[in-house]
Amino acid sequence: MSRAISFAKRNIQRTPFQAAAAIMVMFLTFFALLTFIILAAGSQSALRYFESRPQVIAFFKEGTTSEDITLIENALKQETRVTETKYISKEDALKIYRDRNQADPALLELVTANILPASLEISTQSPEDLQPIAEILKKEPVVSEVMVPENVVETLTSVTSVIRSVGGATVGFLMVFATLVIVMIIGFKIRLRRSEIEIQRLLGASPSFIRNPFILEGIFYGVTGAFFAWVVSYTLLWYFTPFLQNYLGEIKLLPVNPLFMLALLGASLLLALIVGGLGSLSAVRRYLKI
């Protein structure tokens, strides 16, 4: 095997531009794959976050008394579908507003507790319970508006589904493309080294002695491309984490769990090994007549 590795290394060094092209194609393929996986995993986690916290928010009209609110809260607590209720007073709302807009003093200047409505956050057992609870709240005369985040879950579900199907199709196409590129490059190299192969054959080289360096070469392109794709995607994710964290707010997706990224690296390398190996094996079977 060490001989095959040294032959593969020599083959790669002697055609550096082809090697670079093959690695770049594999890099792009795996970069797209990793991007889609990270996006899909992120949207799935966001979806889980919303699904695990089904909430209806009822905003109260100006002048609503605490007795009115207590009455509503008590009535809701009788409902088995309701798991928790939380009252947010005007002052609490102002505090939340200030916390969220610390970086922008202009937004803080004109806002006082008076212009923010008091509200009641009601958590339910499941997302299906949100709409019936919202209907109950809408009938209350002191409630000015009811917010149901059901559409967020729906949007996220469809976004996740789109990412999965578009990502799956794109990655599938790129995998086929990458495999064909490996077939083409290894096939070309086999033709280029025809006289060497012929001499090896006449000297009594076994088929595996001739084939293995080409197969290893394909695997090297796949694994190297996948590794660089992982490094670049992880670096980009790490670089944009502060910005994304700010954007995502309460949804704690970042920083990404390093174990998840390591698992992604392992899976990518395995897949790259399969793609590179299959591509070069196909080329060897097609172009190398021993």
Partner: protein, 224 residues
């Protein structure tokens, strides 16, 4: 050592070898002569199973070439070294690397390869050219490299297909003397040639092939 028993080879309707029967003993030096297209190269190429006989039995040592499985062909070829008229050296490898390839195929370790290649290159008197590439060699030096590559693995048989064809007379004689020396170590040599002078001077066994048949087989023959 080598036994051709009614060996024939047909390419479509063309008969390249026609019912050849020969026996070559270990350590013999045999010239295969005849006009171009007579079947000399075909005969040699059957011995490495580059060409499979259409019929007959062909033995090299204990191996029946017509019966061995494909997976055993490399083992046959390790017993049979080959030298070509056009040398067939790898242009992007040095003399040393061209010879080392035989030992790499045999699975030898690097240290062993270094020793064996040094030994054989000194023997064929091109050790000082070891770092040159084939394009930097003269015809004689290139052929010596090819011979070194063929014998470094210590084959039982050496096939030389017109090894002096592209060389001037003086250089050709140098190559022949080298083959003669290799033969003196016990290696069986089959050499296809057109060179009358060499054949007639060496006075070795001469097999004349004409139209794919053995027309004459003489112990200390001549090529007229």
């Amino acid at each position: 050592m080598i036994l051709f028993d009614s060996v024939s080879k047909k390419f479509g309707s063309t008969t390249a070898l026609d019912n050849i029967s020969l026996e070559i003993k270990q350590g013999e030096f045999v010239f295969i002569v005849g006009p171009s297209g007579a079947g000399k190269s075909t005969l040699l190429r059957t011995l490495t199973r580059e060409i499979m006989p259409t019929s007959g039995k062909l033995m090299v040592g204990h191996m029946d070439i017509t019966k061995i499985k494909d997976k055993d062909v490399p083992f046959l070829r390790r017993k049979v070294g080959v030298v070509f008229q056009d040398f067939k050296l790898l242009d992007d490898r040095t003399v040393f690397e061209n010879v080392a390839i035989t030992l790499e195929v045999l699975g030898k370790k690097d240290e062993e390869i270094a020793k064996m290649v040094e030994h054989i290159l000194k023997l064929v008197e091109i050790w000082d050219k070891r770092n040159l590439f084939p394009r930097q060699l003269s015809g004689g030096e290139a052929q010596r490299t090819a011979i070194a590559r063929a014998i470094v693995g210590k084959p039982d048989v050496l096939l030389a297909d017109e090894p002096t064809g592209d060389l001037d007379p003086k250089t050709a004689w140098g190559v022949i003397q080298l083959l003669n020396e290799i033969n003196s170590w016990g290696t069986t040599i089959l050499m296809a040639t057109h060179n009358q002078e060499i054949v007639n001077t060496l006075k070795r066994r001469v097999i004349i092939i004409k139209d794919g048949k053995v027309s004459k087989d003489s112990k200390e023959g001549k090529y007229e």
